[in-house]
């Protein structure tokens, strides 16, 4: 393989990395813009619905104030509307109903304070702990599996059959790779009449 082709190949590899990074950057930019730059436009109706869906209808079976057709829920929605118009915050309104009907009757998600904070923390801690655990386990496994003197993962591309264009595989002129390819083609031919036909036609 000529040096020129290696350079070309590695540039192509880099190009797809750049394309990927550009797409990710664009995604990040759009999300950042949506999160911070775009003002939250919500109509009063939507706002009422948002607050009401945070509250459980005290006289219903498992329905939120936003969803329930019960009379009490209708009155509660009216109260929410009035209080929002009076300029009170979502949190204040939830607090108001909690003190009026009892926390366990209307608060639909556990408050993030005191004992009920546990409801939130435990699952999050578990997943975070899982990530850390996986990280260490994988590191151990990896450390024990790469023999001394063997090339690191970055230097090897043992999976030539993932590539569609051999031309783009700049470093593919490996003897190991050739071996793998021969093996794969052999197995395919044994397995698949279509490929066998292809092989015989090639001969």
């Amino acid at each position: 393989m000529s040096d020129e082709r290696i350079v070309k190949g590695s540039w192509r590899q880099r190009r797809s990395l750049f394309v990927l990074l550009a797409a990710l950057a664009l995604l990040a930019a759009v999300w950042f813009w949506l999160a911070f730059a775009v003002p939250r436009q919500q109509t009063l109706d939507q706002h009422v619905k948002n607050v009401a869906s945070q509250l459980r209808c005290p006289v219903c079976q498992g329905e939120s104030v936003a969803d329930s057709p019960a009379l009490l829920a209708q009155q509660m929605r009216q109260v929410i509307r009035e209080q929002l118009q009076a300029g009170r915050s979502d949190q204040d309104i939830v607090q108001y109903f909690a003190s009026r009907y009892g926390e366990q009757n209307v608060v639909w998600s556990p408050p993030r304070q005191g004992f009920t904070l546990l409801a939130w923390i435990v699952p999050i801690a578990l997943v975070a702990g899982g990530v850390v655990f996986l990280f260490f386990v994988l590191r151990d496994w990896q450390a024990s599996s790469v023999p001394v003197g063997a090339p690191g993962p970055a230097a090897v591309s043992t999976k030539p059959h993932r590539q569609n264009d051999h031309e783009e595989e700049g470093t593919s002129e490996d003897s190991a790779l050739e071996y793998y390819r021969a093996q794969i083609e052999h197995e395919l031919a044994a397995d698949d009449p279509l490929f066998r036909r292809y092989e015989t036609e090639a001969k």
């Binding site: 590899q13 797809s16 394309v19 990927l20 797409a23 990710l24 664009l26 995604l27 759009v30 999300w31 949506l34 775009v38 869906s53 945070q54 459980r56 498992g62 329905e63 939120s64 329930s68 057709p69 209708q74 366990q104 009757n105 608060v107 639909w108 998600s109 556990p110 409801a119 435990v122 699952p123 999050i124 578990l126 997943v127 899982g130 990530v131 996986l134 994988l138 990896q142 024990s144 599996s145 993962p153 970055a154 090897v156 591309s157 043992t158 999976k159 059959h161 993932r162 590539q163 569609n164 783009e168 595989e169 093996q183 794969i184 197995e187 395919l188 397995d191 698949d192 279509l194 292809y198």
Partner: protein, 673 residues
Amino acid sequence: MYFSDLGVIALILALGFALYTVVASVLGAVRSAPQLVQSAKRSLLAVTFFLLLASAALVLSFLTHDFGVGYVAQHSSRAMPWYFTTAAFYGGQEGSLLYWALMLSIFSAIFVFTSKRAPAALVPYVMATLMATEAFFVIVLTSVSNPFARSPIIPADGAGLNPLLMDPGMLVHPPMLLMGYMSFALPYAFAVAAMITGNLSSEWLRSIRRWTLAAWTIQTTGLILGAWWAYHVLGWGGYWGWDPVENAALLPWLTATAFLHSTMVQERRGMLKVWNLFLIIASFALSIFGTFEVRSGVISSVHSFAYSDIGEYYLVFLVIVIVFSSALFLWRLPQLRPEQEFDSVISREGVFLLNNLLLIGMTFATLWGTLFPLISAFVRGQTMTVGPPFYNQVVSPLIAVLIVAMGVGPLLAWRRTSRSALWRNLSVPAILAALCAVVLPIFGVIDIAANIGFSVCAFSAGAILYELWRGARVRHSHGEPYLVALYMLFNRYRQRYGGYLVHLGLVLLIVGVIGSHYFQQQRDAVLKPGQDTNIAGYRLTYLGNIDTKESDKETITAQLQVWSNGQLQSYIYPGRITYHNYGDQPASLIPINTFGFTDLYVVLTDWNGAAQATIRIFVNPLVSLVWYGGVLMLIGGVICWWPERRRTLAAARSAAKPDVAVGAGIADGGVVV
């Protein structure tokens, strides 16, 4: 003699044969006496026969309106059409238990008929586990929860079925979901057999995978049908409310999904054996827990139609299952060593581990939220409610990461992946996702969560379709037209491409969920004849109320016209049915008009005489995609499960030997150029 007497006799005989099967198969295995095992097989089929007989007796009791049977009197009436009368079979506690037992025996019989394919050493222990489970149910059925129990006073007519159950959904959803719960018993039986014998061969793995796949597909169907039914019946414009009972059905599904993924690692690399056993045991324990929770009423729920005092029996059974499995597990643990080492984080195995972490995270979060009211009551003496806002905030981010992993996973190879190939394969779906993120705000979607959700779905769908296209292109370059190439891919590599179909279905479903969650519109209107109300480009004109009285019920409907683009689309009749026997539980009639993927969902909430109605209108965009996605997942599941031809199977087996690492990449249809 009544049919119910026949039922009792059949149940007792079934119990006898179930106990005999347990003893005979264990003895047969320990003393290696094939005759005993053969005898156990026949006795298992006898259990199936007697449970079929008992079920037939119950159905006949219903159809002949034998109200001397308490269960029949409580759950049916003469006015009910024959199909609801038949379906009332599983409409209550006792009957649904009988249905459970019946299905377990039928599945066990299917296992016996196909037992030649399973490793012979495991068969007796699988049968013993299944029949021990069966014995538990039949004991409960014959003692505390007997559907055939007769009362001395025979009423003239029965009470009828709960109005919420008088719906076509009743004919399909409960049998599916109960069957789904039950079907986790088979993988569990295989796990127990493997732990006892120490045989965790690739044949064992194949058997347990197929049964789990069947259970998963049934449970998926049950869940989707449940969502569809709730949507059509409950009248709050949604289909999933994170109710404890719904969560209970989701939990085993999540762990089974995790298992189906991590067993691929075991199949390919001989790793994660211990973890896979744990997942199977957890699935079964969670399905028993779900049944216990529904029955016991420990946790209040909307959907419990079968409260009773047999909860504690389930609790005892659950404890037995957990203790027994854990003991076996710990006993076998020292002999379960991975056959191979891990190579790289950026590999298919790595993504499967991430997938498992996320699914287990979701399972735990859901279980924790479901149990938290109990924990709260226990610790500080104050119960509380954990509702959808909690689950939405905790589970949604995990789902988003899972969907990304679903897109990335198929692009990675086993062991390790070349970085450059990865970047190239990732860039196509990433561009799609970026396009989606940019285009959506132009069409007015400025909610950040919805934008992230849609973009993530675009990424994953793009990755899957790109993978399909690449596979088809490879075969096309070998001389097949594209359609034939696509068909051959699905035909030859069922597991892999069936899996892609399931993934695509899930992406569609999530798109539907995002659409109907974030962009639902809702309007309440009090209307007099001739008045109309507008929502999202639709106009509804109210005409008046219609009151229909029948012998067992009274139906009130409002008549409305639906206008769209200045044209009359249809007449709709939202209404309320009140059954005289269940006066406090009216059922809603909810017309749902679908325009494209958007549903117009109208509920009659109140009325006044013949000329005033209060209606509540929901506009649910993209909600149809939830159902289409569900159907796609079902089809994908069936494709994965569908038996392969023997020749392909032999080839796959010889290729799947872990020492030929690269060859193993092909066994599931790795596309090779």
